[in-house]
């Protein structure tokens, strides 16, 4: 155990540690606490400059109601779900297959394809921007949810393949061999053996991709123009322009935008962290 467990330290250290942890947590979260406080304030507090004092009114719900009534926030959120959920399903399904193919078959191009997926995953978005936008235009999918989902699925396949391939590679190969000797077809090996065994990896990937896509801003800006398909990140940005001074509404909007990934994170914390730290504990 490193560092030495605090329980083995002198009393004074133990006490100061127990004070220091919540204090540092508070300092760390000041920006988030600030936005939460602001979201419950009324316009009166904002114009009077009361940012850190006790809110004179508790208006969280009315601010949220305001946001929903006076802005297309609801449609932004629905769009975000319409973009995120199909992307998660698509990318995870496709990468189960690619991951399986690269993990359990030996063929010449195997490592080359694997490294292509990895390399593509690190590419800066800007080098893809113009051709992808053009392609989406030509397919008649510009400014549609479908166009954005297709790109997201394709791009996320890189990361997901890396993840799945490494996970499946770590499964005992004898399992597949035994099934093959029994005459199980390759497709059934995939469906009946690989898919059930990769369930933890599928869960981890799903939460990660959900968060990545929900929080995506760049591609939403490049491939979407109108409100009808705009996800919440791009929507917030457009509200940011309109509401320079109405911070309490903007804060309420930001909190609404943050809720789904935060819930996802807390429900699936273990999987989320396992996915994110893949490779952090072994070479």
């Amino acid at each position: 155990m490193f560092p030495i467990p605090i329980q083995k330290r002198p009393l004074i250290n133990r006490i100061s540690y127990k004070i220091l942890v919540p204090v540092s947590l508070f300092v760390w979260l000041i920006p988030l606490i600030g936005i939460m406080l602001t979201s419950i304030r009324g316009l009166g507090d904002i114009t009077a400059g009361n940012y850190w004092g006790i809110p004179s009114e508790f208006l969280l719900f009315s601010n949220i109601k305001d946001v929903f009534q006076n802005t297309p926030m609801l449609s932004y959120i629905i769009n975000s779900f319409k973009i995120t959920i199909p992307t998660v399903i698509g990318a995870v399904a496709i990468s189960c297959m690619t991951g399986f193919a690269l993990a359990s078959y030996k063929f010449k191009a195997n490592l080359f394809i694997f490294f292509t997926f990895i390399a593509g995953n690190f590419v800066p978005f800007q080098i893809l921007m113009i051709p992808v936008r053009d392609l989406t235009f030509q397919m008649g999918l510009y400014d549609t949810v479908t166009g954005l989902v297709l790109f997201h699925v394709a791009f996320q396949t890189g990361f997901c393949t890396l993840f799945m391939r490494n996970f499946i590679k770590a499964l005992p190969n004898e399992l597949f061999e035994a099934a093959r000797i029994d005459g199980t077809s390759e497709f059934n090996i995939f469906l009946k053996i690989v898919v059930p065994l990769t369930r933890p990896a599928i869960a981890a990937l799903s939460v990660l991709i959900f968060t990545f896509i929900w929080n995506d801003f760049f591609w939403a800006t490049v491939l979407i123009q109108g409100q009808h398909a705009m996800p919440i990140t791009a929507g917030l940005k457009s509200l940011n322009g309109q509401w320079v001074t109405v911070y309490h509404l903007l804060s309420a909007g930001s909190i609404i935008a943050a809720v789904p990934p935060v819930i996802m994170f807390f429900l699936m914390q273990k999987h989320f962290i396992a996915g994110l730290t893949l490779g952090a504990s072994k070479g």
Binding site: I6, I130, L135
Partner: protein, 316 residues
């Protein structure tokens, strides 16, 4: 066992011969063909949406093109123009600032991880709260910090006390970039912390105990025994931090849109601005900027791939 079943003793229909042959061809080639069938959808999408666009962009960077009218081939003139473009240098310098300052996220994340690697009541919740900023969209982080920096906003009262009333860091061309980087590094620290927490969790206890027996303590224990074991976590933390620093688009777009006077531009945002914003639709010039960014990144990607390739070879 399969062959032991009753099937062979049933009346076999005439077509058996043919299906048998078919399946035998399939059986012979199944092992060879299956991976390609499984790879097909993923590989196709990836080639169309990721690999081909890279080459296409490199080609577009040799054109003069507004996206609508016919493109004109202009050779390297976009790149030559870049050499004289003041904003290009400002963006490049800002990328460098991002990269260097972002690296601070790695040691700070490590420090936080060591600080929090204890088992006291509620520590799990505390760790996840520390991790919180990473889960939230960069757009939201950007909004939070813009409001934070607003002179009539949160830090206003504190700045007044320091004699800096009405100071807006995001409007100060000398410091605006640092204001954005500070906001950007906030979630990155959380990411590095979580990587190191995982690393610390998987330390080899025997080695640490042996080290302690030998009298290693504090810094020397950390340097000689802990840090080498944290190498995979450090590697990953550096990788994601470099990538994070080069993907600074979101923060700049939300907080300053490159202003004031282009002083907070980074290559990622400048490229977007030249190619797609109201400043014009210069696809070729934008692609040239993207190509520079890509080249910088490529060194890095190759280094990463090389390392992975080494460990793959060991594994095979």
């Amino acid at each position: 066992m399969g062959w032991f079943s009753t099937t062979p003793f049933l009346n076999v229909p005439d077509s058996t011969q043919i299906t048998y042959r078919k399946s035998s061809w399939w059986k012979l080639n199944q092992q060879r063909l299956t991976p390609w069938i499984f790879l097909f959808p993923g590989l196709l999408l990836f080639l169309v949406y990721v690999i081909w666009p890279i080459f296409n962009s490199l080609y577009i960077s040799l054109l003069q093109w507004d996206g609508l009218s016919p493109a004109i081939y202009v050779g390297l003139s976009n790149y030559i123009e870049l050499l004289d473009d003041e904003y290009f240098y400002i963006s490049l310098m800002n990328n460098l600032k991002w990269l260097i300052l972002f690296m601070l996220a790695v040691p700070i994340g490590l420090g936080l991880a060591i600080f929090l690697n204890q088992t006291i009541f509620g520590i799990r919740l505390i760790k996840s709260l520390f991790f919180f900023p990473f889960v939230i969209s960069q757009v939201v982080i950007g909004i939070i910090f813009s409001w934070f920096y607003n002179p009539r906003g949160v830090i206003g009262p504190f700045l007044d006390k320091l004699g800096l009333s009405n100071y807006a860091i995001l409007a100060d061309e000398n410091f605006a970039t640092y204001g954005i980087i500070f906001a950007g590094i906030y979630p990155q620290i959380a990411y590095c912390m979580i990587l190191y927490l995982t690393g610390l969790n998987n330390l080899n206890t025997d080695q640490i105990e042996a080290g302690r027996m030998d009298g290693a303590k504090g810094l020397s224990l950390f340097k000689n025994i802990i840090l080498p074991q944290l190498k995979p976590a450090t590697f990953l933390a550096i990788v994601v931090t470099v990538i994070g620093s080069l993907r600074s688009f979101d923060m700049v777009a939300i907080m300053t849109q490159g202003g004031p006077y282009g002083s907070t531009n980074v290559l990622a945002y400048y490229m977007f601005e030249t190619a797609l914003s109201e400043y014009g639709y210069r696809m070729g010039y934008g692609s040239a900027i993207a190509a520079v960014l890509f080249t910088i990144m490529m060194f890095y990607i190759l280094f990463f791939i090389y390392r992975m390739y080494q460990s793959e070879k060991k594994g095979l």
